[in-house]
Symmetry: C2
Subunit: 438 residues, 2 copies
């Protein structure tokens, strides 16, 4: 009897629990898939469009730009933000004795191209656009943008991407460290941290990031030549190869190889406006960035093309741990810009090559008349994109002061009001200075 009572209580309890769980399911389903009536006001984008067009019409004499998220005047209207060396309400006043800053790799040389293609590159974003952490397929990365990237590489012929994985990051900056983390996790053959190396002169970020993150898994160990043909050939190594190289623009290759060597190819500058494209690159891990392709450094969008699925998955994990993926706004902007770029065919490359070549030739002509200064020399090569032998038109001049007394070349230039970037920043001697041409 007692047993029966207990059993029936249990049955009633199960029933009531089940109905509670059912109610819970209903409540959650009700708000997860909540329905609302879309009552959009007509022409909801008109006000924003009018504001954006009005601010674009503000004349800053070609020496500045006014922006909606920039500075505002007393009357609460946007005002010009002038480029270095210019001032005044419309940026028309040149500042005398202004220092020429060629330090930074800010790719503003493409600004005029996008002004000329204002219609195809304009972006309108609704307030409710892409609010979720993920896209509809539960990933952090836009499939449509990935498709465009495949199409872009196929069009330019600078990388094999068929049957490759693609991961996005906040500029190549985030992608490069993700790659180092992923590959150092793969290297499990020894207990010691993976050696990370890069040939001198190297892009200083490779060193700075490895030292900054200070992981137990990797250590920056300088130039790969130090480790070539060494007896401790079982040590795990990651070699960064920037090609074309930053700072000197050379199409360099890896120094080290072997079963314990992994290579990260930084291909930021492997576009037809900086270098001939001899053939599509097909390395295990290649990194690209919007910054040096379309000039949108501020958008912070880069990507890696990866052969190995495990490495890909680890890089996705890195992006998750670091920033829960990449800004959907940055991805949407990149999508719109690449779509516009592809609509224009070779347009952007023609424009960018003309600009870079003109700058390089003027600089080279000036330096050639000097025996105090010299520039890197790179022989022309066949470019498959333009189907002809072409000169290099590098993003940076790798300037050398030739005289013994000019061993601090940076100071020599600075005295002449020119700011470059010191050779030692690239692991090199201070006879060298990098001057940005972009």
């Amino acid at each position: 009897m007692v047993k029966n009572v207990l059993r029936s209580t249990y049955v009633v309890c199960l029933v009531c629990s089940t109905s509670i769980l059912l109610n819970l399911l209903l409540i959650i389903n009700n708000y997860v898939a909540a329905q609302w009536t879309l009552s959009l006001s007509r022409g909801w984008s008109s006000r924003a469009a009018a504001e954006a067009e009005a601010v674009a019409e503000i004349s800053c004499s070609g020496h500045g730009i006014a922006s909606l998220d920039g500075f505002f005047g007393d009357g609460n209207e946007p005002v010009c933000e002038c480029n270095t060396c210019y001032k005044g309400p419309d940026c028309s006043n040149f500042i005398p004795h202004c220092t020429a800053n060629a330090d930074c790799g800010d790719p503003l040389f493409l600004e005029p191209f996008w002004m000329q293609h204002s219609t195809s590159s304009a972006l309108v974003v609704s307030g409710w656009n892409r609010m979720s952490y993920t896209y509809n397929d539960n990933t952090f990365f836009s499939q449509q943008l990935e498709r465009l990237i495949h199409k872009l590489h196929a069009f330019v012929g600078n990388a094999i991407t068929r049957n490759r994985y693609i991961v996005f990051g906040a500029g190549s900056t985030q992608v490069l460290s993700a790659a180092a983390y992923a590959l150092s996790l793969q290297n499990t053959s020894s207990q010691s941290p993976t050696r990370v190396v890069a040939s001198i002169p190297y892009y200083t970020l490779h060193k700075d990031q490895m030292e900054y993150f200070n992981s137990e898994k990797f250590k920056f160990e300088g130039d790969p030549y130090t480790w070539k043909n060494r007896s401790d050939g079982t040590a795990d190594v990651i070699e960064f190869v920037t090609t074309p190289n930053n700072p000197d623009g050379r199409l360099s290759g890896a120094i080290l190889d072997g079963p314990n060597v992994k290579t990260i190819y930084d291909r930021a500058y492997y576009w037809p406006h900086f270098t001939p494209i001899p053939a599509p690159a097909d390395e295990d891990l290649m990194v690209f960035t919007l910054s040096k392709l379309t000039g949108h450094a501020g958008t912070r969008f880069g990507w890696a093309v990866i052969k190995d699925e495990t490495v890909f998955n680890r890089m996705v994990t890195h992006m998750k741990m670091n920033s829960l993926g990449v800004s959907k706004d940055a991805q949407f902007r990149a999508f719109k810009l690449l779509k516009a770029l592809l609509e224009e065919g070779t347009g952007i490359f023609d424009f960018a090559y003309r600009t870079m070549k003109r700058r390089w030739e003027r600089l080279a002509a000036t330096i050639s008349s000097s025996n105090r200064l010299s520039l890197q020399k790179i022989n022309p090569q066949y470019c498959s994109f333009y189907n002809e032998v072409r000169e290099f038109s590098p993003a940076y001049a790798w300037l050398k002061c030739e005289s013994e007394e000019d061993k601090d070349c940076y100071e020599v230039l600075k005295a002449a009001n020119i700011i470059g970037r010191r050779g030692n920043v690239f692991g090199s001697e201070d006879y060298y200075v990098r001057l940005s041409l972009i």
Copy 2:
């Protein structure tokens, strides 16, 4: 005589060098401050605006959204991307026996608010907008956005930001790890890695990030109670305090104090729609995120409010090393959304509180009739924003299975087609499950 010849050669050489440097200066100044004629086509934003408005008009029955960077049909027109549990061309078909997914903290409950405020939140971006790495003041962070953030906190009264530094990151995710790096560099009193702790139940990212980055400078060491009143009081400690807490919504405080203890306050949920605001927070380092304020998780935008200049500078360095700052597109979106939010006064908080409270009350009413399940209880408090005593309306239900046999509460719910997040993910027991209400 020979001496004189040498001297004159040297003088000539100097003169020629000087003219080369002058030419160099001219060349660089010429392209750095290049002038171009702005020849914008009129109405350059019309096409993009028409496309955006057309895609917004596509009806997905309130159970999905079509996007310009989303999926396209055979006729190359955007199609609906349906929410979980719905399918069909207009997402009108409910999928029978669909599992209710309450795992993720995706704040989609604010989507309808932004649809209702489509005009003020619309964003139009020109192709040449913010291409540079930096803003005009050479920083990675928009001054105008920073101003809005000060204004926002002053309006809500949830944080003191006057005379504080503000740093931006890709969501609170990136800001939190930046804070841990910055504070662990500050702790130099001992050689051992800084202990990182968080009270159980804790937001799992605090543990996961510390373990993932694997820095020599810090180690995740679990619950702060383990280290309270311990004799080794000189060890460096960082305590993460999430308040209101994720998962249980409590307004918790720090457990540890002392000269070697630094505290990072994760204040993601300290907004009037989730919790009463007893007083403005005024901690040394507080972290906020757009995601839980406006619902734009996908934008990846968070910020820290910091008292100490050195900590601020280190966090800026972190953002530089990690991703060269924060996407300008994400910052522009955040700017536009916060501007729209402030234009609406208490609108967003009223809307969000109503929604959250309704969900919480229905859930609480259902659970209260059960003795198999229970919910966290938090007493009402005075809210300075609404100037009244208010109930909590937490972002998550911290559900407990009360019976011994339900020790795997996640599985109990899963059997009823409800997906939550396991208690052990938060360092807790598996009698607990977190259900998202947002």
